[in-house]
């Protein structure tokens, strides 16, 4: 069984992004990384391969050639091969990416038994691709996974949701998305960086898939978060309780 891990190149989690003069987030020269959730998905896929559940791990990203660097990172972690779908001037939204992935899986010589995504990308935080791809494939899905276990011909997946966790049994090929708790990513080692250069990395032209890549999303406005106002000092405990009460600070608790 082969695993496909779709990944995204994002601005590093330690970078504080700012809105540039063009009204969008300017990432030129900033530290870019493999999306942390995708890193967990790669790690989980590698563990499944090492446990003998899977035979190979393919990482894939959709974007410009510059995105190859995160594929190299995933290859250095241990993925077997990588695919870049070059989207050129297109800026597909989540549905466009899901359609590309679907078209790729349909056309590719390899048959994948599991798609393991990160649950969301830390740049736009949408988290739409996994569910949309499952819909297009008509495969079962389990999102925000914190534990994955092979069970017969399917999967036993523990997922977080607003109420707590739920464990789902999925039959056959499936689309899963990884929470950060799923698997702590391994470190890239110096020998693996060298080895990664020898591993196969295919580049495919998005146009060959004949998929509509126009985005349905429109950014209305982008703004920096409001500057946090300084706190106030109160004289004593009674004044503190008064202040908390009068500002109704806890009115949402229990709601």
């Amino acid at each position: 069984m082969k695993i496909l891990v779709p990944v995204k190149r994002v601005v590093d989690a330690n970078v504080r992004v700012r809105i540039g003069s063009a009204g969008s987030v300017d990432t030129a020269g900033l530290k870019m990384s493999l999306n942390p959730f995708d890193e967990c998905a790669v790690e989980q896929a590698l563990r499944l391969r090492e446990a003998g559940v899977a035979s190979s791990v393919t990482v894939l990203t959709c974007g410009l050639p510059v995105c190859q660097d995160v594929l190299r990172t995933a290859l250095a972690m241990g993925a077997d091969n990588a695919v870049l779908i070059d989207t050129a001037n297109a800026t597909p939204d989540s549905l466009g990416i899901a359609r590309l992935l679907h078209a790729f899986m349909t056309a590719d010589a390899d048959a994948y038994g599991l798609v393991l995504c990160g649950k969301q990308a830390i740049d736009d935080d949408i988290g739409g691709v996994a569910a949309m791809l499952a819909g297009l494939l008509s495969w079962p899905q389990a999102l925000n996974a914190s534990a994955i276990e092979a069970a017969g011909l399917g999967w036993l997946v523990t997922c977080g949701d607003d109420a707590g966790t739920a464990t789902w049994r999925l039959a056959g090929p499936a689309v899963l998305s990884a929470d950060l708790r799923l698997a702590e990513p391994r470190r890239v080692t110096l020998p693996s960086i060298v080895k990664a250069k020898q591993k196969p990395l295919r580049t495919l032209d998005a146009a060959t898939f004949n998929v509509a890549l126009g985005t349905q999303m429109r950014i209305v406005e982008m703004a920096e978060p409001a500057v946090r106002q300084p706190g106030i000092k109160v004289a004593d405990t009674a004044a503190l309780l008064d202040a908390i009460g009068s500002k109704r600070l806890f009115q949402n608790v229990g709601a």
């Binding site: 330690n14 970078v15 020269g29 990172t73 470190r187 080692t189 110096l190």
Partner: protein, 395 residues
Amino acid sequence: MSHYDFIVIGAGVIGASVAHHLAALGAKSVLVVDRGTIGAGTTSQSSGLLRTHYSVRQNVELARSSWHAFNNFPAYVEDDEASCGLVKCGYMICAPEGDKLAPLQASLDAQQSMGIEVQLLSKAEARERLPIAQFDDAALIGYEPEAGFADAYLVATGFARSARRRGVKFMENTTVTGLVRDGRRVTGIETSAGTFSCGALISTQNIWTPELAGWIGVPLPVKPERHTVLALECEAAPYTFSMPAFKDLGSPGMLYFRSYGGSQMLVSEGVVGETLNAPETEQGDISLDYVGEVGAQVAERFTAYEMAGLASSWTGVYDVTPDWNPVLGPVGNIEGLTVGFGFSGHGFKLSPGIGKILAQHALGQATDVSLSPYALDRFASGALLVGKYGSGAVS
């Protein structure tokens, strides 16, 4: 409009040190303004190495007085609870046969002639101190026991706390937008929080110094340069706190090393970095190829690190001058202005000494170390302070 006798722009480790020393030397009314928060700019990105090994003699003097401050930090700032995070592990430097050998010999001789304890180690002695490295190619190995590394952020906040205790006011998240002038004299600053007048202004603006150049109409030669730092982990050969910080003059990148957290290795290149178009401390991109290149250099010296893992990586920014040494003192014929900029990657280790002499200069007192070699006009006169190792932060 509020008035202060002294205003310092920039609350990095240099500005905080200036503020501490101004107050400790008797200044009664001092304001420090910073665009961000104390020590959060380039200071927080420092690797924190402390050594007196320099090829420029004035730097040795400043480094020696600064080492005294780091080594006695609570007493120096008169606060028993103060800590600079010092790890006194010593500093080892080695050169193979070749162009770095003579400068190393000369620098070690100069240190010794100034009364600084420097030992010349055999390869076996070097290996005893740093057993995870090999010294097959080493032609000369120097070791100074009174050295190590400390935490630049702790030092900046330590100086700031001391300054506050002595009455200095700090305004964070306040951007200076211009100067107030009266002819040739600087008489105040305009900021996002209003205008403040002053008797004397001290600029310690680091990579933001070009803003000052614009306000006073005098070119100040400093560029922001980004450098990459890696933390490597090798279970077979942990880099412990008892092992000295190490400079490898034989490696193409003139790498420096130290323990990171007591088991990992912090390593970075000591050569020219990536010049930025604008002052910016945000994290820069680090390619896997670069990690591989530096890693290959590391493994030449630390053979077990051939298998090392990359634990983390980050970038820091230097304020670099044409000769990789700072500019200290007045600017042209402008009165009431003292500048300190262009520390070129070695400001932290000099920060106590530099804070003191800038404060002394602003107070009109004699300075412990002469400012004249660091004068701005050296770039016009040609009396540069280029170190014997060429461009780079060893100086």
